[in-house]
Symmetry: C2
Subunit: 655 residues, 2 copies
């Protein structure tokens, strides 16, 4: 026989509150719910909220929107987790007030009703304190001095009393929603950033020799000048020698070959050590410092796997699984064998110890100044482990960002995001056509997925040189750049992309002569590069707040199947950007674009200003249809910023 106010269908709520939703500092969390009870009483409701470790709840009022749907919200001012809930109660004074007004309107006698109102005010006075109590008591005293219903009515319907009564409701029978919910307020870089991925050992100028963190530092000005915010390093740890892979992933031992940086661990140390060829831990800290001075953050690869030479194998033999012949089980994905990789056994009796050690690894690098981790293959480790680890880290350091490289089945990819990853790799890398891009982006930005998964759109990775880039030439790189950088608010490239590197192992997505297994020396000024284009796109991103958001993406009609047309606007409409991309890297296509003038509040007969942001060309347009010609060699994409033009209501303030 519990309370009878129903609070249900709460938004946002993920999997019945099992997982938190994600927002960023500076956002306002808008909370909605269906709130109602039987009969005709009027209700009042609040969103209750508190920082996760705060004892006291704060409250924000909710208001009815329509049809028993209520809304209220609060500002996420801190980089932390907040908890929120909803409470609702019968607003007895407002219910009484509404009934009274109806009866007055019908000319009915209201003497008894006024006495009932007086009771409500007297009860509120008991709940109130200080000045409010005095004021409420004074209303009751004045009421008792009056004898005429009209005078009493005026007293009880006074707006000032109404405001007082709102402050002192009888919440003794208030109902709460069934669960407390959680929202993670990440720092803004969780949503808006451009990433540059590189192999530290290939940033030098001497063939066949590892570069150092110093060489890496020398590249920072250029990376920053292209407009990137994050420089992401593949693993920087010592590399095992046993079963070391040779160039192009050969299984023979090749003298002098450096091995894959993902075969972590040697005599020189494991996950908390730096590869001696790259420098010292002090050198690494210096690099992080220098990056910071250039406005760049450093992201580190977190790959939970061990080479056969990793110290863990000797120090913690109980962390691994053994086969009937006493050998340790190496990684396999039959028929593929990875004899250079051993996985710790997350299900071993030493599980607790193992989990804590990996947490310790992350904390170690946080201690070196790292605030972003790109996690390798998280989908081969327990989801519950990630949920635990990320929460443990963020409880102390909510500014730490985790990017999940979960190139796996869709539900597992999403589950890792729900479990706590700040950002996720996605299938964007393989989506090339108009309908599939629109469908996928609509899912990411308009469905429940947007509550918990931030897509970090990588155009390519050391493991993935997509067919589109392999055969589409320079225009293909620009097309994918524009798509990644404007469809999502956070995106990345892997070094070589800016040089339009397209040489693949035939029939695969592997780079030919991949850095994964070799030292490489790049000519960063190689002819045909697209560094200016990258810089331009990143500048446009920076200057247009609409591109800092994800959920605001909308697709609009373009009457050619090769032309994708979409737009983003800030909530207040002060910045509005549209993008038209030719998805065909070979041929020019013309399309009629339909601009949603009505959404923009631009009358169909009014002129508006259009600035094409890549060329800086300005136009005055009228009407919602415009033809665009996109030649992949000249202008594979156009980006329009739309503003009103000399259209305002003049208000004369003087003379």
């Amino acid at each position: 026989m519990t309370g009878t106010i129903v609070i249900e269908n709460i938004y946002p709520e993920l999997d019945c509150g099992r997982y938190p939703v994600k927002r960023e500092v500076g956002d306002r969390l808008e909370v909605e719910a269906d709130i109602f009870k039987e009969g005709h009483d009027l209700l009042a409701a609040v969103v209750k909220y508190r920082e996760a470790d705060a004892a006291d709840w704060l409250e924000a009022p909710m208001a009815q929107v329509v049809n028993d749907r209520w809304r209220g919200g609060f500002a996420l001012e801190k980089n932390t987790r907040y908890r929120y809930a909803i409470e609702a109660w019968v607003d007895q004074f407002e219910s009484w007030r509404a009934e009274l007004e109806k009866k007055l309107e019908a000319g009915q006698a209201v003497g008894l009703e006024l006495l009932e109102g007086r009771q409500l005010v007297a009860a509120a006075a008991e709940r109130a304190a200080d000045d409010d109590r005095s004021q409420l008591r004074r209303v009751v005293e004045n009421f008792d001095r009056q004898t005429l219903d009209a005078e009493r009515t005026d007293l009880l319907l006074a707006p000032a009393l109404r405001r007082l009564m709102v402050r002192h409701p009888d919440r003794s029978t208030a109902a709460a929603c069934e669960r407390e919910l959680e929202v993670v307020a990440d720092r803004p870089a969780a949503r808006f950033a451009a990433w540059y991925e590189m192999f530290p050992r290939s940033q030098g100028r001497v063939r066949g020799k590892s570069a150092t963190f110093r060489d890496c530092a020398a590249r920072l000005p250029e990376i920053r000048s292209m407009g990137f915010d994050v420089v992401y390093l593949v693993p920087i740890h010592p590399i095992g020698a046993t079963h070391r892979k040779g160039p192009n992933n050969t299984e023979e031992l090749v003298p002098g070959a450096p091995g894959s940086p993902y075969a972590i661990g040697s005599e020189a140390g494991g996950h908390k050590a730096v590869h001696p060829e790259l420098g010292t831990l002090e050198d690494f800290r210096a690099f992080v410092r220098q990056a910071g001075e250039h406005g760049l953050e450093v992201a580190l690869d977190f790959a939970i796997q061990c080479s056969p030479d990793h110290p863990y194998l000797k120090e913690h033999p109980d962390w691994f699984r053994y086969r009937p012949d006493g050998s340790i089980k190496y990684a396999e994905n039959p028929p593929k064998k990875y004899q250079d990789i051993f996985n710790v056994d997350f299900y071993s009796p030493a599980k607790d110890e193992i989990w804590r050690e990996w947490l310790d690894v992350v904390l170690f690098w946080i201690g070196q100044g790292v605030k972003i981790f790109r996690v390798d293959n998280p989908h081969t480790k327990p989801i519950a482990f990630w949920e635990w680890l990320i929460r443990e880290v963020q409880n102390e350091r909510p500014d730490i960002i985790f990017l999940a490289e979960a190139f796996t089945r869709p539900k597992l990819l999403k589950a890792l995001a729900k479990a706590g990853f700040t950002q996720s790799y996605t299938y964007f890398t393989w989506r090339n056509f108009k309908q599939e891009l629109a469908d996928y982006l609509t899912e990411l930005t308009q469905s429940e997925v947007k509550e918990y998964l931030r897509p970090n759109f990588f155009t390519c990775t050391p493991d993935i040189l997509p067919a589109f880039l392999q055969s589409g030439g320079r225009p293909a790189f620009i097309i994918r750049l524009v798509l990644a950088a404007t469809l999502s608010s956070v995106y990345g490239i892997y070094n070589g992309f800016e040089l339009c590197e397209a040489a693949a192992v035939p029939g695969t997505e592997e780079y030919l002569d991949s850095e994964k297994y070799d030292y490489k020396v790049w000519d960063w000024d190689r002819p045909g590069h697209i560094k200016e284009e990258i810089a331009a796109i990143n500048r446009i991103r920076l200057e247009n707040p609409a591109l800092h958001e994800l959920e605001n993406l909308r697709f609009y009609p373009a009457d050619d199947d090769n032309v994708l047309f979409y737009g983003k606007a800030t909530l207040d409409g002060s910045n509005t950007v549209f993008v038209a991309v030719n998805l065909d890297p070979f041929e020019a296509h013309q399309a009629v674009l339909e601009f949603p003038l009505q959404e923009l509040g631009i009358p169909r007969d009014k002129t508006f200003q259009v600035e094409e942001l890549l060329t800086g060309r300005k136009h005055l347009w009228r009407g919602h249809r415009h033809i665009v010609d996109l030649d992949p060699r000249q202008n594979p994409a156009e980006i329009y910023r739309i503003t009103r033009w000399a259209y305002r209501d003049y208000v004369e303030t003087c003379f």
Copy 2:
């Protein structure tokens, strides 16, 4: 650090398991869920289920459908509540088997793998008992006697061993879904029935005098001959005299006026008494018996409200709310006043006593043979009260059906259905046009609403004579009859509908000279009646199992806005019915109907048989488009049963 198998997105699950879903005895409950874990292990999963009061769980296997979506189900064999849950675990043997097969295919050595397989079989033998244990041990012994990998492989991949291993999984690390869920298996009459509502006192032949239960019994053969299953009586209790309303709801006392049967309670008794004019309690029981002999169930009105003369006011003065002048608060909906109605105060300190008394009232009438209650205005009583009451009743008597007259806001209407009402009145009564009918029915039959709300489509009620019937004449009645009876599987009419009674208080939906405030004598054979049409529709419903279902409703194209075209088919496709209705009661309309031949498995070039069920006319048609001419005076609707025609593959069984 919990288990790592994720079980989420369970279907059916209502509001995170807060409310049960509804099905009927004889249904199979199909349960689905996303089930997955990290990595590549293969999983096994079961639906666990039990009758609510059973201690032991039964299990039904689940199988993966696609992309980590699993499905399994069980038969709802009893009229009771079932609980269900999901459990999943790593299928170690199947995972091992799959890896082994890949390695064999790649020609890799598998000696170690075979030893690992042997370990799995040996462990399963420990879990097994009796014959299974012996068999599994024998496999291990045979394995140990063999030395060749090929022989050992054959042993471990034998299909018989596979079946054995499935029976003895290692479920020590099994994961369960977070909540147990509930499904109510109602008796089939919850979903399929035709209701006939009547005022017992108006079933006689003497003007100005109450009819009796005996007179009511005399009408049973006719009601049954029209094809109804339920005869629903408005309240049969003593009626208060104080503030009694006169004919046409006048407030003056009119000598001899019987009063509204909803003003329950007089010196003669309250909710557990029968109005003396109708007869005795024994007469009522006799009526219920006689109805049963005619194949009819009796539904009783359950209206929680008291006339000023109800015994409760004297016996339980603490059940009511008092005003500052000491008077009891009567019902109001300002500016309307209902001085003849007092509501008990569900929030009074005597709450527990009050709730139990109403339960006692329901149990009393169940004791008299009543199994169906139509609940008046449930939306003015606490939702939690209904949830409690219905569960209390159905725990003992799961066959009891409750119909909610919740003509209220949509969320409250739905909440009452979730809280436990077996059926609900709906907005159908006011939906007249093609798009609004299709939209509303699509919501009712295709959205989550179908999981918990069974719409009982009343064409009219004593309070509602819709404008469509007031002005549309006889065709309007047939149109609404066909819609109610074929769109929903359960529907009802209020007596007078069969006579096309259309006289209203001008400008309202009130019947003129309503039975609510008077005795009435009807001429049940009045010219222009539609009793044959009703009988025909109810016969068609009975003979076509497709019309016994609700969720199977689908709308199909008809190229005229006045023609609604829809169909229903049984799951096995053995019965397929289509309905075309002219929604305009005044003029004929022609439309091209598009039959979904592909869904029906009828090739476009094959002839099929169509039987129009109202006329019995048969046709042979070909192609999916057919023109229909619907004249409201001749054939306001047509109902087609479609079957294949002479189209089968002959199989010669002899010579």
